[in-house]
């Protein structure tokens, strides 16, 4: 018998601290598989966010740096400018990237930094216990929008992929989801494309991944996947928003 599925080399053997059914785990695996398949593990430098993925440095099996909240793109810039041949990727949540880190991500994209950003949009602040994120949907209940997010008070969820696509510096921008086998396979393709965009020196690349937070959504893992399908995808359409060819 041949092995059709096993742990990629770019992941350590550490057991993750993620809640049951949290799709952060799936996304970690996809990133690791892409790094493996592109043979980039020994060139890879990963930057983890402050967020539930803060411990990613224990999970990814290559050089890692733990960033200050939201600043991963600036840190990635500092690294990539000095090590132009490295494969530099940031892994950021929606609070990290779309809230506190807004300036850093917009400017990394504008400067066309040759880095790859994995943007995990789960519409909530997971690590800190379920506060509202800039990507929280209207009506969604969180600990800081206890009566449901209202546009009168908080405006509208930000579509980062669309926003960053307006920057000429963006070379590859896409949005994927990991709620079904089909979407997981697509997500992996997109992540690989983003990494290739970086290694081909085309410019800034980002994959926004719609992900679940069963714990803070207050749902069973399977319900969460369903909720993502029903609520997130309609507001956050999947697809490629910017594709700069070599």
């Amino acid at each position: 018998m041949r092995v059709v599925a096993q742990r990629p080399q770019s992941l350590t053997s550490a057991r993750t601290h993620y809640c049951p059914g949290c799709t952060h785990g799936i996304i970690h695996r996809l990133v690791a598989e892409c790094i493996d398949e592109l043979g980039l593990r020994e060139k890879a430098i990963g930057i983890c966010p402050v967020g539930c993925a803060v411990l990613a440095y224990d999970y990814f099996n290559f050089d890692m740096l733990e960033a200050a909240h939201g600043r991963a793109p600036a840190i990635a810039t500092g690294i990539k400018r000095i090590l132009p041949d490295a494969c530099v990727l940031t892994y950021q949540g929606d609070g990290d990237l779309a809230s506190i880190g807004m300036a850093e991500i917009v400017h990394a994209s504008a400067r066309s930094e040759k880095i790859t950003v994995i943007f995990v949009n789960n519409a909530v602040y997971g690590m800190t216990g379920g506060q509202m994120a800039p990507t929280t949907l209207l009506g969604q209940v969180t600990t800081t929008s206890p009566y449901g997010r209202k546009k009168e008070e908080t405006g509208f969820p930000i579509r980062m992929a669309e926003l960053l696509a307006t920057n000429e510096g963006s070379a590859y921008i896409s949005r994927v989801a990991v709620n079904t086998p089909a979407n997981v396979i697509k997500a992996k393709k997109s992540i690989k494309k983003a990494l290739q965009t970086q290694m081909n020196g085309l410019g800034f690349s980002m994959v926004e991944v719609l992900s679940t937070c069963p714990t803070n959504w207050g749902m069973a893992p399977l319900e969460a996947l369903e909720w993502l399908e029903q609520n997130m995808i309609p507001y956050y359409p999947l697809g490629e928003f910017k594709v700069k060819e070599a």
Binding site: R41, E42, K43, A44, I45, I47, V50, V54, L55, Y57, F60, N61, F62, D63, M64, L65, E66, A67, A68, R71, A74, I75, A76, T77, G78, I79, R81, I82, L83, A86, A103, E104, V106, H107, R111
Partner: protein, 351 residues
């Protein structure tokens, strides 16, 4: 002409280049901008990286990333910009990454003014960020030292794996004096901890998160021991006519030069006055000041602030002599003014 006429900011930047700095990440702010502008002119020619960051916050985090690769990198700013860097400096201190941070300082608080000040002393020596940490802080007093301390700063940074700050009054950054260029630094220590791809080794991790209280405490103890070591080894001060002084003035930076001229003057008037000039603001040269407290009858801390370093002077004097203060803000008092003040204090205390 072996001596070149340079602005302090340019001399500092050139010093960093001589020390092997390969990247500058910064955001413009008066009176520090010439450092960025100098690097913007040089790096494209020399090879190296100049990035005008979107903010001081981004700049210090670019430094965080750059320093993590083991390269010699730097940033420069002033008052408000340094405040914005304080989170990042705390991270860099805990990650133990060597780098150079420059504060060409101006008057605060708030937007304040762009005129010279030393009122970021507390921020530089303690409290400029959350948690228990220090950065080594060097205070040059001449354009030549702007260059030399940049070079020395990188050595200290690498040696102790710590961020090093150079703090100079805005005037020192803006004024021109002749400097003798130093020869290029060519020897660097190994940095096995640096990140750069795990080819042929286990992955390196640069991290400041310590969820287990035990490990967090362990890390704090490691840092504290390092700081004790630096305190014991690296205190640096210059003394000027202090040996026989009844009144010891403590002043740093360009200010200390003004004090020297004033001392020459009051000595002629018959007052036995001397100077201790802290060169390292952290670690503060407490030993030197403490020695002076054995014989001096009076101390006078002269600062371009409302009184910050005076805490450290008092901590060193330990009540053995009165410690007086004279301060201005937004301008560097003239030698004439300082002479008058010294005489006034001396007479008041009956020296």
């Amino acid at each position: 002409m072996d001596r070149v006429l340079m602005k302090g900011n340019e001399a500092l930047a050139e010093g960093a280049l001589i020390a092997g700095c390969v990247a500058f990440f910064g955001y413009p702010i008066t009176p520090s901008s010439e450092i960025a502008e100098y690097m913007a002119r040089k790096f494209p020619v020399l090879g190296g990286t100049f990035v005008q960051a979107e903010s001081e916050l981004a700049a210090i985090n670019m430094v965080y990333g750059g320093a993590a690769t083991g390269a010699r990198v730097m940033t420069a700013s002033s008052g408000p910009g340094i405040s914005l860097k304080s989170e990042g400096i705390s991270f860099i201190a805990e990650a133990e990454l060597p780098c150079l941070i420059v504060n060409i300082s101006r008057g605060g608080p708030g937007l304040g003014g762009i005129q010279p000040a030393q009122s970021d002393y507390w921020q530089a020596t303690r409290g400029g960020g959350h948690g228990d940490f220090h950065t080594v802080v060097l205070a040059p007093s001449s354009v030549q030292e702007m260059m030399d301390f940049a070079i020395a700063g990188y050595d200290l940074a690498d040696k102790y794996r710590t961020p090093v700050m150079i703090m100079a009054e805005g005037t020192l950054g803006q004024m021109m004096e002749p400097v003798s260029l130093r020869s290029k630094v060519t020897e660097f220590i190994e940095k096995p901890w640096a990140i750069g791809g795990c080819k042929g080794r286990l992955p390196n991790i640069v991290n400041t998160l310590h969820l287990s209280p035990e490990f967090l405490e362990y890390r704090n103890k490691v840092l504290t021991e390092k700081y004790e070591l630096i305190k014991n080894r690296e205190q640096k001060a210059e003394t000027f006519m202090a040996e026989d002084a009844d009144l010891v003035v403590v002043a740093f930076g360009l200010m200390s030069r003004i004090v020297k001229k004033a001392i020459m003057d009051v000595r002629n008037q018959g007052y036995k006055v001397g100077l201790i000039r802290p060169i390292t603001l952290w670690p503060f040269p407490a030993d030197e000041v403490s020695r002076a407290a054995e014989y001096a009858r009076l101390f006078l801390s002269i600062e371009i602030s409302m009184g910050q370093m005076i805490d450290d002077v008092r901590l060193a004097v330990k009540g053995r002599a009165p410690v007086e203060f004279y301060g201005r803000i937004g301008l560097i008092p003239s030698p004439e003014e300082i002479a008058r003040q010294i005489v006034a204090v001396a007479q008041k205390e009956g020296l």
